[in-house]
Symmetry: C2
């Protein structure tokens, strides 16, 4: 079994109102110096195989098709 | 300026319907062997300081107070 983590983040330049809200919230709670917050998603997966190369390719495919919106999001695949 | 990444994931045993839906979706798209998917959140932050120790402490504090629900979620702070 292979464990993988996919991280999906907004591309630079794409507005992130959720991140902005968190930034505001942190300021309101008294945390100083937070210049920017951007929120993304992680997916932790278990895949039933031992072929790392194939899994990496297959997960990249999953990202293109379902996990990420590649118009506005980047993704990174990490095999753990 | 320090860049940090906070990863918030559901604790083991906490139901993750969103992860289950993604798992089902991947199966429907023909991806085989995906045994489990769990979804979490990432926060990428820029903090205006150069004191790594202080930032780590301050971000852990942010997680406890705002970024994570520590009843059902774990968090990890990574200084980049």
């Amino acid at each position: 079994m292979i464990k993988a983590r996919v991280t999906v983040t907004l591309k630079n330049g794409v507005l992130d109102p959720q991140g902005k809200a968190i930034e505001g919230g942190l300021g309101a709670l008294g945390f100083e110096g937070v210049e920017s917050v951007r929120q993304g998603k992680v997916f932790d997966m278990n895949v039933a195989t031992d072929d790392k190369k194939a899994v990496e390719k297959s997960i990249a495919d999953m990202c293109e098709k379902l996990l990420a919106n590649t118009v506005i999001e980047d993704y990174a695949v990490e095999i753990l």
